[in-house]
Amino acid sequence: MDAKQDMKNDDTRPFLGFGLGLRTEHYQHVIEHKPQVDWFEIISENYMVPGGKPLANLDKIRADYPMVMHGVSMSIGSTDPLNTNYLKDLKTLINRVEPYWYSDHLCWTHAHNTNSHDLLPLPYNEATINHLASRISQVQDFIGRPMLVENLSSYVTYNESVMSEWEFLNEIAKRSGCYILLDINNIFVSAHNHQFKPKDYINGIDNERVMQFHLAGHSYQGDMIIDTHDHDVCDPVWDLYKYALQRFGAVSTMIERDDNIPEFAELRQELAIAEDIATKALSAEQLHIAGQPVLKGVA
């Protein structure tokens, strides 16, 4: 069976199944027990080091599981020049891991000679769209493959914003040819913090650009919700996930957990909830897992 026949939902969106974020706390368990998980997502920067255990463990786990790469430091929205050393290291890691795809965030992290080490939001307007579309194109040309850009949780709205985040994200994807990593929890968090309807976001996103879903937990701090990744996925986010599946069809889904990390088995059980929701929301044919690496060429 060739790859295209193997991709049931459509030709541009292979479905990898259900994955987890690979975390150091689970290395030993994964290496020793090889638990059933369709794929892992790695944080790229954790392996952008010269050598040693991080890369040795990565190679061992990669031998048994498909992977995608997720970065936090590309600073694609910054007005600084693109960090070519970072991009070279990223390309080296991509060549090592051979991921299905790589992603980063719709944000900026570094400017004014300082790295905030945070995912800082952008004003949503035409000037920023032009800026990002150009930079994403440069990254994709350098890496030789299209990237995925993820919506983030945010706590501020700029006076300079003149459109919704989903309109902004669609336009950037359209102009640069990048794909969208849709974080369902981030939609829920930002919807609460900025008083919009999360389903409006999901309804507004262009279906054909969505390549992956993130799920995660969050925390309430007074009137705001903070994207802490330290809790289980909550029921309203599961409901939104179901809604997103009905809107987009089968999309590769994973759970991010970055703090208060439970035993692997517990996290795997939580992933089973995602599988269960998807099984009920979609047909078995839609949930057929693709078997071939994708996004080899620039879109």
Binding site: V49, G52, S116, N159
Partner: protein, 260 residues
């Protein structure tokens, strides 16, 4: 400067506690003012950096206690805005600050404990390299020994301390009460490296081995190493001592390549 660049500079200034007009760019809502919204980012900036440093210097934290460690973190974050792309490298200047600034420099062992922890981190993810075995020495022609030099494993570090810092660090990491601080008459050298199983090892070196290994690391030839050892041994003993050191280093996984 573009509007976006100006906005980003202002945002960074705000995070660093510098004068900034970023709040003028942020919408307030009935429930939450622009300042309160921005404060979420300011809090997260500092919390994230503190968490990174705390992870890197766990034993130093234990030695100083929460209050003084937090004082150190506040000072460091104020003096060293991060220029690192990777958070892994943010805290590398902690020993520099401890060595140079009051009140931390009044206890020199603090910088040494921090250096030990930084050395472990460097060893952990240092570059990989081949590791020779004693079998690699066997085929050497006799003439090779006249120019033989060594490439050592990239994880190898020679650490020099004026205090019993390693004993203090070891007690802290074993969750035992640290011993009293002792200052040495002359610096003590410790060897740290990552072995073939990717475990970081360490041991103290006598001056003669420290000298020989430092020479080897500089790329000096085997005869030059032997000559340096004349400061410690008589001429008849030197070749045997030098060979013994070399065999030990190879067995421990310190040697990556022979050049001759």
């Amino acid at each position: 400067m573009s509007a976006l660049q100006e906005l980003q500079h202002n945002f960074i200034d705000y995070l660093l506690g510098q004068p900034s007009n970023i709040a003028q760019h942020i919408q307030s809502t009935p429930g939450l003012s622009a300042e309160k919204r921005l404060n979420i980012y300011a809090y997260a900036y500092k919390a994230r950096l503190k968490e990174a440093i705390g992870t890197d210097y766990e034993q130093l934290h234990g030695y100083l206690g929460d209050e003084q460690f937090d004082q150190l973190l506040e000072r460091f974050i104020e003096k060293y805005p991060s220029e690192e792309t990777n958070l892994r490298y943010y805290s590398i200047n902690i020993p520099t600050l401890l060595r140079s600034e009051e009140p931390f420099n009044s206890l020199p062992i603090l910088a040494e404990i921090a250096e030990i922890e930084a050395a472990f981190a460097d060893s952990f993810d240092a570059a990989d390299s081949t590791i020779l075995t004693l079998n690699d020495l066997a085929p050497l022609p006799e003439s090779a020994w006249e120019t033989l030099s060594f490439e050592l494993h990239p994880s190898l570090q020679l650490l020099s301390y004026n205090y019993n810092s390693f004993a203090v660090w070891k007690a802290l990491s074993d969750e035992e009460a640290p011993p009293e601080t002792v200052q040495y008459d002359s610096p003590e050298t410790w060897l740290m490296w990552r072995d073939s199983q990717l475990i970081t090892r360490y041991r103290p070196l006598l001056n003669e081995e420290a000298t020989a290994l430092a020479f080897a690391r500089q790329g000096q030839s085997f005869p030059a190493i032997c000559e340096a050892l004349l400061d410690y041994f008589c001429e008849d003993e030197v070749p045997v001592k030098a060979i013994t050191f070399l065999q030990t280093w190879i067995q421990e996984g310190l040697v990556s390549k022979l050049n001759y």
